[in-house]
Each structure stands twice: as C-alpha cells, then as structure tokens.
C-alpha cells in the first residue's frame, strides 16, 4: 500500500464540476509532477461537500484545510505554499479567516458546525469511483453482518426500531414498507431506488449517488435480503450524467468484489442491480409512475391500492425507497437502531438533508438532525440573508410543499410539524424568500412548474392546476377579481381531494399556504391593484420626479423601448403605455430621480 504524506481532496460533484474542478484536478497533477512530489501527495476526486456556492472546493489532509473557489491559477500557489512549504494559503481558506488555528479550517466553517452527516457521511471524503475507499470506511460491513448473522425479519425489526421514515416525501416508515413486501408470497419481488429527484433546487440524491454510490447499492442488497428479492432497479434521471457514470462504475466494482451477483458473502443470497434512465419528467418521481416508466410505458401514475408492496413492478411485490433513505440504512446496521433512534424528534428519527437555496448566503446541501429549527438552518448554517434583508418565508417540499412564515421560524422541523403548518418535508428542498419576494408571484411560480409537469392523466390536475394558474396570472396581472380568491380556494380544495396521484393532490399547497399566511398580499393585488413587494410588473410603474430630474437624458438613452421623452431644461417623462417596466432607467439615473411606484 502506498503511503503518502498529504491527501488533496477535490470535489467532483456536479456543482464543483460546473465551476471547473476537473481542470483544477489536472493542474494539481501538473504541479505535483513539476515538483516531483506526485508520489508523496495523493489527489482524490470526491463527491459533494455541500457548500456548492463556494466551489470548487479543495480539502487538504492531514491539516483539514478547506480551500474554496479555487481557480486553476491558484493551484500553483497551493502546491508551492501548502504542500511544499507547509504554509497555509490563508486567502483561499473557507470560513472565518481571522481565527488562530486555521490549520483545522474545516471545523471552523460555520456551515458544517451544526450539521450531522449520516446520509452524506462519505460525500466529500472518499473517492466514489473506488470501492476500496468505501470498504475502508466500513462499507459493505453492514451487508456482511446482515447476510451472515441476521434473519430477514431481524433486518426489518431493526429498521422498525430505528424509526427511519422515507426521505422522498411522504415519510412512510421504511421498516413497515419492507414488512408489507416481505409478507407477500410471490415468485419474484423487486427492490427499486427512486433516484428521479425532481424538486427544483433539490439535489441531495444526486450528491449521494455522485459521492457515495456504494452506500445505496449496499442498502438495496440489504433490502433485497429482507423482502426476498434478487433484483433491484435504480431509476435515475438521465440529466445526472456524473451520478449515472459513478453508479455504473460502482455496480461493476461491487459485482467484481462479489457484493452483487450470486452467493453474496458466500451465502445463498443473490442480488442483481440494473440502472434505468428516466427522461426527466417530475411525475416519474411518483412511485407508481416510476414503475410504469421502468416497465417501458409513458410515465404516468396508476391508482393505489393495490400498493407497490402488493402489486408493483410488473404486478410483483415491490419496494421503492429514495436515495437518501437508502444512504441511511448501512449506518443503522453498523451503529445500531437505538443509536439512530436517539437522533431527531419523537416521531422523526435521524437527520434530514436540505438543499438550501434562494435568498440565503450559503446555498448548498446541509444535513441536520430532525428537530433543528428553521432559524438555525437559515441563520446559523445558511449564514443569513444577503444584504441584511428581512426573512419573509421559506418554502419546503418544493412545488408540493408550502411556505413557512417568519412566525414559524423556531418550529423544530420534522415530518409532522411541517404538515401541521401546511407544508411538507418533500424531498428536502428549502428555498428562502426575503422581503423582496411577492408571495402571490411565488405561488404562481410553483404552480407554473406543476402545470408544466402534470402528466395529463386526470382532469383535476391537468385542467384544474391550469385554471388556478390562470387565476394567479390574472391576479398578478392586475386583473384579479374578489371572486378569484374564492375560486382558487375551491379549486385547491377539490384538486387536493380528487386528483389521482400525489403530484396533483399536493399541487395546490403553495397556493393554500400562501393564502393562509399572506392573504393580505393577495388582497392588496386584488382589491388595491398593488403588489406590496413590487414584483408584479403590471401593477408597478416608474415615475421621474420632476423636481429631481436634472434633464440629463441618460434615462431616455438607456430605455430599450424609447418610451422616455424630454429635452434639456424640461423634466423627462415616461410614457406609461409603452413602458415595459424593466427598471433600467431607475438603475441608470445618476440623480436618483426615478422611483418605482408599487
């Protein structure tokens, strides 16, 4: 085994790859070779660290120095200073640069302090394309223990005791789901992994697949043993090329190591795994639509019952769990169900990964124990809101979820509390909104997504969400009538009740929760024809103050539609009919003479 003095961990997740980390890796190789230290320092391409906004991220061990936003030009300096001279490059260091002990900068980063990484434990730590590294971190030990020392029902009991609930949306107890499938008598059963992550902004599943694919494979094999299945499918969207590539590598390696295939760990348990690529329809994240898609048909939900555990893929008993759920499972068997059940709240155990985005300083992935408050996530981990603006709301659960207002900032986040306040966990998207966001506009945004992603099978979703969107377009367009809000409520209620699948049943949630907490904003749009946040263009106009106007004409010169007229000595005036409300004039006016009248 090769002994090296330093490890350079460079993030190869999608975020960092987009910000050029592959080039950074290349440059490190070049610089190490130039300095002839390529045998002393090992470069590892890892999965995601979570702090995607600061990528590309480079972590150097043994010091634990975390460098952020590393450019190709910075590499020479890191190699010369850090790796050769042992002097840390302070200017690239993450977190508080004034701390004394910057050698352990990773631990000083606020972003990580309150996190508890279980599902993401190996992300950013190991090379996902090397099964040995996974094994070195106790990988496949859980599978070995399960296969050689436990009966299938013990496996299910352990999961039940752990209290693990599905991380994909509904939060159904995983052990119970497995038990239903295990009880079915059938000549064939299937284990499916839902990696069709579709919530806009959520990417924890992608990160796990990119950073730690073996943990999912291991968990699926455990599931196969528990329910009596020898065939698994991972349904992953084709838009995740890195995840697909690493999964393929991982499956191949697992097969070579005998962790998949025949007689795993010398037992008579066989398990095979195949990947199915999805074309990216949101609805294919719904379990019955996902199965229909795997079967080769148009991805559309089918009615339940029968539930997948009874009649799933090709009418055979099937369990479906999402990536994050699986990623938790090997650890539960390593550290014990009681350990896991000791984390979190009474009914929501363990941790949850959130993809934090929107109006927040540290966008990225965070994994926190269930019961962490929204305030902790937004302010302590997320670093607060840019520009010191005021928090207005946070949307959890993506287009199926709802808005959490400032009054609920201190509520401990878990499955049941989120439902109680009109939102849901969903897959863990968390979008922060500040005072500049119009909540009617936000509701419209989410509904646009659902309308676009509706599969079209049932009329409540196909036509109902479209009609809701039309009403919201009327309201934000300044043409809302008071009856429109009643219609919205009526439609929302009945779409929730009558739609065929979860997508349709939850589609009205953003509207319902904004109506619940921000009714005054709706009223302002409808009754006063005013958008309090100044977002809805139809209801705002720009005015040039005649007193302040110095008649310089810069506004007119910059107006893209030539709707500002005036001349030297005569204050300029905006033709409101022609104005497209782009705001360029206000931005360009050197005398702050132009105002937005919302």
């Amino acid at each position: 085994m090769q002994i090296v003095r330093s490890h350079v961990l460079i993030c190869g997740g999608t975020g960092c790859t987009s910000s050029n980390s592959p080039k950074v890796i290349e440059e490190f190789k070049v610089q190490l070779n130039l300095n002839k230290i390529q045998d002393e320092v090992k470069i590892v391409q890892t999965g995601c660290h979570g702090l995607c906004a600061e990528g590309p991220i480079v972590v150097i061990y043994p010091e634990g120095s975390m460098y952020t936003m590393v450019k190709v030009e910075d590499v020479k300096e890191i190699v010369d200073e850090h790796l050769i001279k042992g002097r840390i490059v302070k200017r690239l260091l993450a977190g508080d640069k004034d701390v004394q002990d910057f050698t352990k900068s990773l631990d000083n980063v606020e972003f990580f302090k309150k996190q508890h990484r279980i599902a993401l434990r190996n992300c950013g730590v190991i090379n996902p394309e090397n099964i040995d590294e996974y094994i070195a971190y106790d990988g496949y030990k859980a599978l070995g223990t399960v296969l050689t020392t436990m009966k299938p029902h013990d496996v299910i009991d352990t999961l039940k005791i752990s209290g693990l609930r599905g991380r994909g949306g509904g939060g159904f107890p995983t052990g119970l789901k497995w038990e239903f499938a295990a009880k079915q008598k059938a000549n064939q059963k299937y284990v499916c992994c839902n990696a069709d992550e579709g919530d806009p902004g959520a990417f924890m599943d992608r990160s796990v697949l990119e950073g730690d694919p073996h943990s999912v494979i291991e968990a699926m094999a455990i599931a196969g043993y528990a329910i009596g299945s020898n065939q698994g499918f991972i349904y992953v969207r084709a838009e995740y090329p890195i995840a697909v590539k690493r999964l393929n590598i991982a499956i191949k390696q697992a097969e070579e190591y005998g962790m998949l295939g025949k007689n795993i760990f010398g037992t008579d348990f066989d398990f095979n795994l195949e990947i199915r690529l999805g074309a990216g329809a949101f609805v294919c994240g719904e379990e019955t639509a996902l199965m229909t898609s795997i079967e080769g048909f148009r991805g559309e939900p089918r009615p339940r019952p029968p539930f997948p555990a009874v009649k799933g893929l090709w009418q055979k008993p099937t369990i479906l769990n999402n990536v994050e759920t699986y990623a938790n499972i090997p650890v539960i068997f390593l550290k014990g169900a009681d350990w896991f059940a000791g984390i979190g709240t009474e009914k929501s155990k363990g941790t949850k990964v959130f993809a934090v985005g929107g109006k927040i300083n540290n966008t990225g992935l965070v994994e926190v124990p269930m019961g962490t408050t929204l305030r902790e996530i937004v302010y302590d981990i997320g670093g607060g809101i840019p520009g010191g603006k005021k928090f207005k709301a946070a949307q959890t659960g993506g287009p199926s979820g709802g808005c959490i207002p400032v009054s609920e900032l201190d509520i401990p986040i878990d499955y049941d509390n989120l439902i109680k306040i009109g939102s849901m966990m969903g897959s863990g998207g968390l979008i922060v909104m500040d005072e500049d966001n119009c909540m009617v506009d936000i509701a419209k945004f989410f509904l646009e997504f659902t309308v676009d992603e509706s599969c079209g099978k049932c009329p409540p979703c196909r036509i109902g969400t479209k009609r809701m969107l039309e009403i919201l377009e009327r309201i934000t367009g300044g043409k809302g009538e008071e009856s429109d809000i009643e219609k919205l409520e009526l439609l929302a209620k009945n779409i929730k009740a009558a739609a065929l699948c979860g997508l349709g049943q939850t589609a009205p949630n953003p509207v319902l929760s904004t109506l619940k907490y921000f009714r005054d904003e709706y009223d302002a749009h409808v009754k006063d024809k005013r958008c309090p946040a100044g977002v809805c263009k139809s209801m705002m106009h720009f005015i040039i103050s005649a007193e302040r106007c110095k008649t310089c004409g810069i506004c007119a010169k910059n107006c893209p539609v030539d709707c500002i007229a005036g001349e030297k000595g005569v204050p300029y005036v905006i033709d409101q009919e022609k104005c497209i409300k782009c705001g360029v004039c206000m931005e360009k006016c050197p005398f702050k003479a132009i105002f937005k009248n919302a």
Binding site: R298, P303, V451, C458, G464, K466, L491, A498
Partner: protein
C-alpha cells in the same frame, strides 16, 4: 368467490371479494357517474368522475378501480364527493367545445349526460381552451380533438383490444392529446379503420366520415338509378337508434324506411354473402384438393384485411381472393343486373348500409371496380342511415311490413349469420360439408364456432375429408391466432377472421351504447342472438340452396370459380407500409 361485508351509504351488503367499489355499488343499485371507465377495456381511474369517500383514506378514491375489502365503508354521495365530481366535470367542460347542438353525438353523449345528471347549469372555471384542426383525411374515421376528454377509451381499445395502437396519449399536462404518432393524420398511420375507437368514444371526438349528403344528392338526381343493400348486422342494431331494446330485429322497418327515403331497389347483402360462400367454399376445396396455400382465411372484413396487409403481409396469399359480399353485390348490380334491366351501369348508384367504417375505405380501393365503374358508390354506417331516417321524419317504429326486392332479396340463414363471429365459417361449413358428402345434411348448426370466446376451433369431417377450422374476432385475437399459426403451433385448413370483437354485429359503424350499458350487458351477444333467431326463421338456411344464387350461376357465371366469376367476384391485396414518409403538414 369469497364474499366480504361492506357498508355503502349506510347500507350493509355482501359482495364478492374481487369486486371494485363501482361493481359493488352497481350490485346495490347505487349509481355512480363514470366517464373513462369501460369495463375490462379501460379501468384506469383517470377521469375522477366516479370518486367516492372511503373511510380512512386521505383523499377521494376512484370507485372504478378501488377494490372492496372486509369492513370497507364507502360514501358515494357525501358533500365532498358531490362537490369534487361537479368541479371535475366543470373543469372538463371548460376545455371542451360544448357545441352540442351541432354534434353528431348529441343525445347520445356521455359527457352531455353527465352534465345533465350532475345538474351543471353554468361553468365557473372558463379559461384557455385547446383548439385543434379536424383530422378528416381518413375515409372512415374523423378525429375532432376539440371534443376529446382524454378518457383514453379509444387508446385502450386500439392498443389493448385491437393491438393496432395507432393512437396514444402524447405531450403532457394541459397539452396532453390523444393522437397518432408525430401528430399525423389517421390516414398516414397503419390504422385499420375498424372504427372500434368510435364505438367507445363517450363524446363526438371520434366519429365516422358522414357521407349522407352524397346519398341525398344521388336520391334527388333523376338520371340515377339508386339502389341500396343492407348488411346482415344492420337489421339487428338499427332499432337501438330509435330507442328499441338491444337485439330487436327491425328488418321490415328498415326496408320500409329505405323505400320511403326513395331508393329504387332495396337488396339484401345476404344474397351476396351466399354468393361469397359459393366462391369461397369452392376456393377452399380447390386449395385442399390441389395443394394450395392453407389455411384459407376469410376476406369479408375490410378492417381485418387492412390489418393483414400492414402487420401480417406474409399471410396475404392465405387470404381468400373473394371480394367481400357487398362488393360482390355492387359488381353484379353494375354488370348482370344492369344488363338485365337495360340500364347503363354508369347510371346505377349503389349504396351499402354497413355496420362498418372500414367498408368506407374498402369501397375506395381502386381494385374494387369493374370496367371503370366502382363496385359500390357510397357506404353508410348503420348510424348514418338512422340519421337519414330521422332527417326524413320517418316514424321508424310504425311502418308497414316490407320485403327486400328481387332478384337479390332472397337470402338464406347462412347469409344472415355472416353478421356474427363464426357466421362465415358456419355458413361455409353448411355448404362445404354437403358438397363433400354429396347429399343434404340436416345437422347444420355449428355451435362450436358461435359465441364471444376470442378464438374458437372446430374440426368437421365430411366425405372422408377432415377440415380443421378456427375463428377469431377482434384484431387482438386475430394477432394471437396468426402468431400461433406462424410459429407452427396450430394448423388449420380454414380460418375466419372478423376485425371487430364479436364480428359485424359489434362493428365500428353500429349504434353506440354508452359505457353504462355496455359495461354490464354484452351487446355483442344480444345482437348475435337476434341474428341466429333470424337464421332459424328463414326457410332456406344454406347458401347453395338460394334460388337467386342458382339463377346467377345458371344465367351468368356458369359455375363457382369460373373465369367470369374470377373476373368479377375476386380481388387481390397489397402489402402496405406502416409509417410511410409523408410530408409534414
């Protein structure tokens, strides 16, 4: 079947454990509205009209797919259920053209009926409505997506039952449409024109190409000699268009109506069916005796023929070269009859009343003409005839007794049963067996080929020759049977295939029964019963005993399979491309 106890609207009942909530409600005489549901064909819970409240369930559930279980408590009329149904229906209506007054399905539209039943008096949620151009390029089926409610009954029929699958859902969300691939016209895809999609459409989104105008025009043209013929299956279904029970025989009313409409002569396609038996029977015996291509497969059903040409071209040589009966009739009307009556064939206008939409396509096949005259000028479906009768103000139920005209009004029971699956086979066996035996046979009912089972088989021995026969109806069954033959898993001498499930009685041009009827009553069986009653009542029940046929051979064709018969009564087929390149519209 094991039974379970359930409570439905406070009533405690016991139902078989494999029932759905909808079936249980039907059993308890509780009406639940449906739209996409069509028993055994389309059970997908899509339209949400049948939602009910199930105690303990989070949301409303579709009764058509929700299985009953012990102790289930169901509410079919709770305020939440009523409101959800109404709003869903209003939403559907908001994306529908609502042109009931000019819709061919008015008064027979399931959507219209739902709106009436649920007391919809206005629609609250108007908004963007999808607008489409009419697809009227097919000679048989018109597609009007402005009326489509996306119930997918047509898709299931085309895909699951007929295994033709030329239409499916495309796009998604509000943009979802039911359409052939690449938004092509039905004309440019391998559609068999069977029209089964029309018979399951709850609205007017699918309908036959109406050609009544052409017939009205011909009837007013004094230069033309306009004659009409009616297929056997029409007489047992037309009454439904006038409110009569399914399976009512209205032969006389139909003939009387046709006379009132002004046709010079009303002939019976059954006579031509007898002629077909003579030709086809001869062809069969010839192939058996002289080592011809076997099995011989019947060619009466133009939907089946087009299916064969598209999907099983390797069986084209197995097809009987006989024209279908109404085409034979058309030919002899414009040759033999024209000569006999001294009428210029160009002035004879032949109208066929058929239970079939594919016959419209068939009549336009270029090879089905003689001496520059098309065999049949216009094919009307049973439904179109009903429209003409209504338009003419004829009181259908109260008409004097009338009979077909001679010489082609003399039909046998063999000709009549052509209208039901197994009928062509039975008719052929009645004649072939006698020819082989060389004597009259009394036992003429071949019941093993009757009924709605998908594929039926029979072995008949006559004159020392064993004839193995098979009958398939519905193109899905045809596919199954042909695959079996292809793989060498079955050998037959004679195969009857009808394109529509149940045969012509259930053809794509027949009166449309709503899901609420056809889901619980087998319309095919009811109509077939009437066909076999008609057969029983007829004095002559074997084709070769038909005096008109005897006269035709004596006067004109000499003998079955003669040169002249081949020239006039036989045809050929072509292999068809499935998705030929067409210019994008």
């Amino acid at each position: 079947m094991e039974k379970v106890n359930i409570t439905i609207d406070t009533r405690k009942i016991q139902v078989p454990a494999d029932y759905t909530v909808l079936e249980a409600a039907k059993f308890a005489n509780i009406a639940i509205p449906t739209l996409c549901f069509l028993k055994d064909i389309n059970e997908i819970g899509a339209c949400r009209m049948c939602v009910v409240e199930i105690q303990g369930a989070r949301s409303l559930q579709a009764a058509c797919v929700y299985p009953v279980s012990e102790g289930l408590v169901i509410w079919t009329q709770s305020p939440a259920v009523r409101e959800a149904r109404k709003i869903t229906l209003e939403l559907i209506l908001s994306n529908h053209d609502k042109k009931c007054l000019t819709c061919v399905r008015s008064r027979n539209c399931e959507l219209q009926k739902l709106a009436e039943d649920l007391n919809i008096q206005s629609t609250m949620f108007e908004g963007e409505r999808r607008k489409f151009e009419l697809d009227n390029f097919s000679p048989s089926v018109i597609r009007d997506q402005n009326k489509c409610v996306l119930c997918r009954r047509c898709v299931s029929m085309c895909k699951k039952v007929q295994t033709v699958a030329v239409i499916d859902t495309m796009d998604r969300g509000f943009k979802t449409v039911v359409s052939p691939a690449f938004n092509r016209s039905l004309m440019d895809v391998p559609c068999t024109m069977c029209g089964q999609c029309i018979t399951v459409c709850p609205t007017g989104a699918l309908r036959e190409k109406d050609e009544t105008d052409k017939v009205w025009e011909a009837l007013t043209n004094k230069d033309l000699h306009v004659v009409v013929q009616t297929a056997p299956a029409v007489r047992v279904a037309l009454g439904e268009e006038f409110g009569m029970p399914i399976g009512t025989r209205v032969t006389s009313n139909m003939i009387a109506s046709l006379r009132r409409l002004g046709f010079e002569k009303v002939f019976d396609t059954d006579t031509a069916a007898d002629l077909t038996i003579m030709e086809e029977g001869t062809e069969l015996l010839d192939r058996i005796k002289n080592g011809g291509k076997l099995p011989l497969i019947t060619s009466c059903s133009p939907g089946w023929i087009k299916f064969c040409e598209h999907y099983f071209p390797e069986f084209i040589d197995n097809l009987s070269t006989c024209k279908s009966p109404h085409e034979m009739m058309g030919t002899i009307l414009k040759t033999y009859y024209a000569e006999k009556m001294g009428i210029d064939p160009k002035k004879i206008f032949v109208v066929s009343i058929m239970p079939c939409t594919a016959k419209k396509f068939e009549s336009k096949r270029p090879e089905l003409s003689f001496a520059g005259n098309v065999d049949v000028d216009v094919v009307l479906t049973t439904r179109e005839l009903a429209r003409m009768i209504r338009e003419a103000g004829i009181d259908f139920a109260y008409l004097p007794e009338r009979y077909y005209d001679n010489p082609f009004g003399e039909a046998t029971g063999a000709g009549v049963i052509f209208g039901a699956t197994g009928g062509v086979m039975e008719a052929a066996l009645r004649t072939v067996a006698e020819i082989l035996e060389g004597k009259s046979i009394d036992e003429i009912e071949y019941k093993q080929v009757r009924g709605v089972e998908g594929i039926k088989e029979a072995t008949v021995t006559a004159g020392g020759i064993e004839i193995k026969a098979a009958v398939a109806h519905g193109l899905g069954n045809a596919r199954k049977l042909l695959e079996k033959i292809k793989k060498g898993k079955a050998e037959y001498h004679f195969v009857e295939i009808m394109g529509c499930p149940g045969g012509c009685v259930n053809g794509g041009g027949q009166p449309i029964q709503p899901s609420s009827v056809r889901s619980w009553i087998d319309v095919r069986e009811e109509r077939a019963k009437a066909i076999y009653e008609e057969d029983k009542d007829l004095p002559i029940r074997k084709s070769h005993e038909n005096p008109a046929i005897k006269m035709l051979y004596k006067d004109y064709f000499d003998k079955p399979g003669s040169h002249k018969a081949h020239e006039l009564l036989h045809t050929h087929y072509v292999k068809r491309e499935n998705y030929p390149c067409v210019k994008e519209k």
